[in-house]
């Protein structure tokens, strides 16, 4: 079933905190739920669909429904790491189109910073194949570093090209008062920052931050009754990638499939997109995703992001105008929710004026969760202002 015109994002809210010292995880979820419902102008009692992922405390939706006081008739707890919220938008839109619910709430919260649990290991440490990796001291940045090095080897991509992703994000973050990092950086700043795992420097890595976000999706009748701009979910795709029994390829990701599915359902092409939120756990994540989504040819991602091409008002594809995970916020080590929220801001014309894309009517949001180069899940959504 095609979801075009059958579900709308009516509410979006990003928690302002980046360091939730005295705020519980449950409270973050509640704060963002209330924020998104208020943004939409919808009463909590009307929520009949609830979507959350592995970041929510307790046992999936049970604990959160209790805490939030929800009585959903449809629930979904699909978890693909940080991209889960992209998948949730697709699932919520389909559930609404299918009549399973009319008002869907999606929440994310995390406080790795305040809790002192900085995630540098490999997600889902009880995955069946991890025992064969543990003797070699795996860490998240090391996997992405191997992706970057192989990309450089095959296509001649350079550290300076990767650095442009961070430079663009920093140009946007300077206008975001909530961003963790607001200083504009240069290519030289990035490549001269300390090496974490060759060839990735500290400034090639996203921030670790607390916070969260929420979305409210509604059916067309409700969307029409609200005073907010109508943001349609025009297409959604999801796909998994993995080591494939010792045959892993580092230079492409599941975005090849999630992107193709989303574009096909939306009936548009990458060249139609006015603004893109691209998951930026590391600079290489963006380069790989842009290639896999079809914004440029495979292997040309480095050249595509260089020279400010991702900077709003400067380049051809404005991206992550909130500063992204590289500068603004990567709440709970899961950057998917904030990607959708900034896309919604752009489509509503509510991004910061300095980074707002003129006449932004078609946006893409893309997430890469788990670990690129091994177990990962991608979700892509195409959103449209009607």
């Amino acid at each position: 079933m095609n979801i075009r015109g059958k579900a709308y994002i009516a509410g979006a809210f990003e928690h302002p905190t980046r360091n939730a010292v005295d705020i519980s995880l449950g409270q973050i979820h509640a704060d963002v739920a209330r924020g998104a419902l208020a943004d939409a102008g919808i009463d909590k009692k009307d929520v009949d669909g609830y979507f959350c992922a592995g970041d929510s405390p307790g046992l999936g939706p049970l604990s959160m429904a209790e805490y939030l006081g929800l009585n959903p008739r449809h629930i979904d707890t699909t978890d693909t790491g940080g991209s889960a919220y992209l998948l949730a938008v697709g699932h919520a839109a389909r559930a609404i189109a299918d009549g399973k619910c009319n008002v869907a709430l999606i929440t994310l919260g995390g406080r790795p910073k305040a809790s002192g649990r900085l995630s540098v290991g490999v997600p889902a440490s009880n995955a069946p194949e991890v025992e064969f990796e543990v003797p070699y001291k795996p860490m998240l940045a090391a996997m992405y570093a191997m992706v970057a090095r192989r990309h450089m080897h095959e296509f001649g991509t350079t550290s300076e090209q990767l650095a442009w992703v961070k430079v663009a994000a920093s140009h946007h973050a300077q206008h975001n008062p909530h961003a963790v990092l607001r200083d504009v950086v240069t290519v030289d700043d990035v490549v001269s920052s300390p090496m974490v795992a060759d060839p990735l420097h500290r400034l090639d890595c996203c921030v670790v931050s607390d916070g969260g976000g929420a979305l409210v999706l509604v059916n067309p009748e409700i969307a029409k009754s609200l005073s907010r701009p109508k943001i349609a979910v025009r297409g959604a795709g999801e796909a998994l990638g993995h080591a494939n029994g010792g045959k892993v390829r580092l230079t492409s990701s599941a975005a090849v499939h999630s992107g193709a599915a989303a574009f096909e359902e939306a009936g548009v092409r990458p060249s139609d997109i006015d603004y893109a939120s691209i998951y930026d756990s590391f600079t290489i994540s963006v380069v790989l995703a842009l290639e896999d989504l079809g914004f440029c040819e495979k292997g040309k991602g480095g050249a595509f992001v260089a020279d400010g091409n991702l900077i709003s008002g400067v380049g051809k594809l404005p991206f992550n105008t909130d500063g992204g995970g590289l500068c603004n916020n990567h709440p709970g080590n899961r950057g998917g929710m904030t990607k959708i929220i900034e896309a919604v801001r752009q489509l509503r014309g509510e991004a910061h004026p300095a980074v707002q894309v003129a006449d932004c009517s078609l946006a893409l949001a893309h997430g890469t969760g788990g670990t690129l180069g091994s177990r990962h899940g991608c979700g892509t959504v195409v959103l449209e202002r009607e």
Partner: protein, 129 residues
């Protein structure tokens, strides 16, 4: 299941390592080698996996040097290695400065003690050997 020992494949793999043998699985049906250990072939889906010795030959597919302070153990090599058998595994390269490891370097597998167990590591194969 053909020629599969009466313990799970994960445990058998480690048991062989402890006994000084590096074995991976090969599908009797389609001929594909399989790693990590499992009970069925990822290529054809059949459960006809046999354990075979590896040639020991490999090369670096990609690698990184994870930067650590000396007091935290120092920099170390983390790598994906292509075995001659056609499977790719996470491992490390020993006997060479991690900063000197390059994609495509020819390697030979060996077994080393690591935290009270055995693990597979790779050493750069010198020309002419």
């Amino acid at each position: 299941m053909t020629a599969t020992p009466d313990i799970g494949p994960d445990a058998y793999f480690q048991q062989q390592l402890e006994a000084g043998r590096i074995q991976i699985q090969k599908c009797d049906s389609c001929g594909a080698h399989v790693f990590a250990p499992r009970t069925f072939c990822k290529s054809c889906g059949k459960d006809a996996l046999s354990w075979v010795d590896i040639s020991g030959k490999g090369e670096v597919y990609s690698n990184t040097t994870v930067r650590k302070k000396p007091e935290d153990g120092g920099d170390y090599c983390f790598a994906l290695i292509d075995l001659a058998e056609g499977v790719r595994m996470i491992s490390t390269v020993v006997g060479t400065d991690p900063h000197d490891v390059r994609i495509g370097m020819p390697l030979r597998a060996e077994i080393e003690d690591h935290k009270g167990a055995k693990r597979i590591v790779f050493r750069v194969e010198e020309a002419g050997r």
